[in-house]
């Protein structure tokens, strides 16, 4: 049984048909990437999974359970954490408070402390800056913070929306290294990216999305050599 199973979902913004039957699966322990150009519907897919946008058709199952009846805020407790697009940190709270908010639904104080240490080991920059107001962090640090905060919920599935957005290439590389590290510790990750080159280099499998539909699905290594992907997303002729 796949950990996450999205089956033929249709989502709408008013009468804009944003997702036209999207299906995808994520197995336990995988990094699966969803790539595609601007406006393809990647963020919409994540919003539909988390229930912020309710799909009008189709199902989303997490560990076999249909997510449709759950309100979006119930998802964290179920084991799904989101790193929102554009970093979405609480910019007026400090780094430590942001991380604290990540563990909002948990009450196991001792375990939270353990996880905080783990996040600090993984992302040492956050430890240095723990009492700094998050809005004053650099873009890369903010992305680390959003990631660390999502981990504080101790999820089993991590949904990441364009962690590379607006970052310099060096930083993108270090963020992606962290993603691999997180995955190697056992985290399952669904990674939405425009930066197909980077995403495919770390993912196990990939889905290619265009105007609300999945047009390709294969192992990441195969997608890297796929002519169409190379032309459209990797800028190769």
């Amino acid at each position: 049984m796949p950990m996450l199973e999205v089956e033929n979902i249709h989502s709408y913004y008013g009468n804009i048909h944003a997702l036209k039957g999207v299906s995808l699966t994520v197995e336990k322990g995988e990094i699966v990437t969803l790539i595609g150009g601007n406006g393809a519907g990647k963020t919409t897919t994540l919003r539909s999974i988390s229930g912020i946008l309710k799909p009008l058709e189709g199902t989303v199952r997490f560990e076999g359970e249909d997510l449709a009846p759950f309100k979006p805020h119930k998802l964290v407790a179920k084991g799904i954490s989101m790193v929102p697009e554009g970093r979405g940190i609480f910019s007026r709270l400090t780094v430590a408070e942001n991380l604290d908010m990540g563990a909002y639904v948990r009450s196991d104080k001792a375990e939270i402390k353990v996880d905080l240490e783990r996040v600090f080991t993984l992302l040492p920059r956050l430890k240095e800056r723990r009492s700094q107001v998050a809005g004053t962090l650099s873009g890369g640090e903010q992305q680390m913070l959003a990631t660390g905060r999502a981990l504080m919920a101790r999820p089993r599935l991590l949904l990441m929306d364009e962690p590379s957005m607006g970052l310099a290439p060096v930083l993108v590389e270090s963020i992606f290294e962290k993603i691999v590290e997180i995955n190697q510790e056992g985290m399952t990750i669904l990674l939405v990216e425009q930066n197909a080159l980077m995403a495919l280099s770390i993912a196990h499998r990939g889905y290619v999305m265009q105007t609300g539909e999945i047009v390709l699905h294969d192992k990441a290594s195969n997608l890297q050599t796929n002519k169409m992907v190379q032309k459209a997303y990797l800028g190769m002729e």
Binding site: K71, H73, I89, L93, T94, D100, G140, A168, M198
Partner: protein
Amino acid sequence: MTNKSTLKQLFSAGLINGGIIIFLGLVGMIETFSQRDIVSGLVSMGFILLFLPFFVFGYSIAKKEPDQSLRTVLFAGGLTGLVAGFTTALLPILGQFVNIRDMFMNASPTLYSILNFNQGIYLGGLILMIVSGIIGALGAGFLLIPPRLRNAFLQAVVWTVLLGLMRDLLIVMIARWGAISYIFRWIFASSGLTITGALVIFFLVGVVYYWRSGKKQDLPVKKILSKKQKNIRFGKLVAAVILMLLLPQILGIYFSEILDNVGIYILMGLGLNIVIGFAGLLDLGYVAFFAIGAYVVGVLTSPEMGVIQITFWQALPFALLASVTAGVILGLPVLKMRGDYLAIVTLGFGEIIRLLSLSDWLRPYLGGTQGIQRIARPFIGSLELKTQGQLYYLIVAAILIAGFIAWRLKDSHMGRSWMAMREDEDVAQAMGINLVATKLSAFATGAFFAGLAGAIFAAKLSSAYPQSMNLMVSINVLCLIIVGGMGSIPGVFVGALVLMGSPELLREFSEFRYLVYGALLVVMMLVRPEGLWPEARRKLELHESMEPDALPNDIPTVTENPAG
């Protein structure tokens, strides 16, 4: 020396300064305030209002001078003052030829003669210019005095002026003290302070402050308190509490009345601070819950309303319940709204409640324009709380409870979800926060505090009128939160004391209340946007002082790089 661009600055500062004084004159403040003596026969409040701007402008223009030598500083201040005085002197001259009074009824001969030192427009204008130049230079020179002396001087002036302003009230208060009162009598003249009184206060405060500010410097860092210091601290706290409990006895009826009103605003401020400061929901109809609290107590306790007649304490839970319910009812339709839309809808809600209380339709139940009279006062045992002094204790008790609740809520799970929601609703939801519950709880808690304030208010006046439930109440509460510091609990107390207390102390003031509020808010936003007693976080955010070399060099700079 002074180059062309600084000259230009001096002139424009002088013009602005003159403009301000002309404005203060035309709205009538200078004339009204000149009837209020600070030092009997010598200095009036109008006099201070007229000359203080020259001083302040002289000071701040000198502060901007790159060259801080005595000569340039005095020159800058003096010139600014001169220009300002010249600008001001134009008003009476203009008034001679044009009838300004048609437009500005405060452009009276009295105002002109104040501006002209009673010497006619030309000679008077000249004197004004000379005086303003000198004051401007003095203001500039003030900058060069050592800070410790400067602060002591400022404190001394502020205290002298305050005591002079409050003379009428202080006299009444002192009269209650029996024999000791004679020690203080000689300080006060028939209006304002006597000259000796003013001098004594000035030097006393100045010397004490100077001496204390010198002592403070060699105090150790505050963080770690020795046992002795802790004891001292505890002692101070006990003393403060005792003083607070004795206040009505010491101060008398008039002050108690003011304290009661301030207290009711503190209660409301604590509530609105939760809604706006903690949860970030801009609620402009806050008075509605106050009205509901007051009216429920009214309807249930007044014999006029014929429904039932119960005691204040029996009615209070119903009043609170009604306000909280109203809070939830208001919250439901606005769940999806943010910022300005929320503000407009809540504003409308406040008006609806007021209009309902005013309506003929509900007159049999709410009394229409006449409101409700003969509302029951609270009893404690067989003692009816009815004087200002007695009600003071009820209000203090309510504030203590409300303050404690607010303080505990702030760091609670709920407090954190309010804060997260204020920052970003979508992300808060992604953290597992139930937005519906969080929003409704903020509205409900805020409404609870306002309902409590309203209930006490109704019992205090023993009546409830639609007129006292108007929009200005909401605006006042909002202003006091902003002035005190958004999201700060001590800020609510400070804001309420400053905004609600001071106009009561200065009756001439109340005419210009909203003018002063407006000016105060603008100045606050420029000088101290975080409020008078800000929350630690806001201070961090608005005045973060990160030295550039504290940043490690190995962080690559972030550039916009739309990957694709």
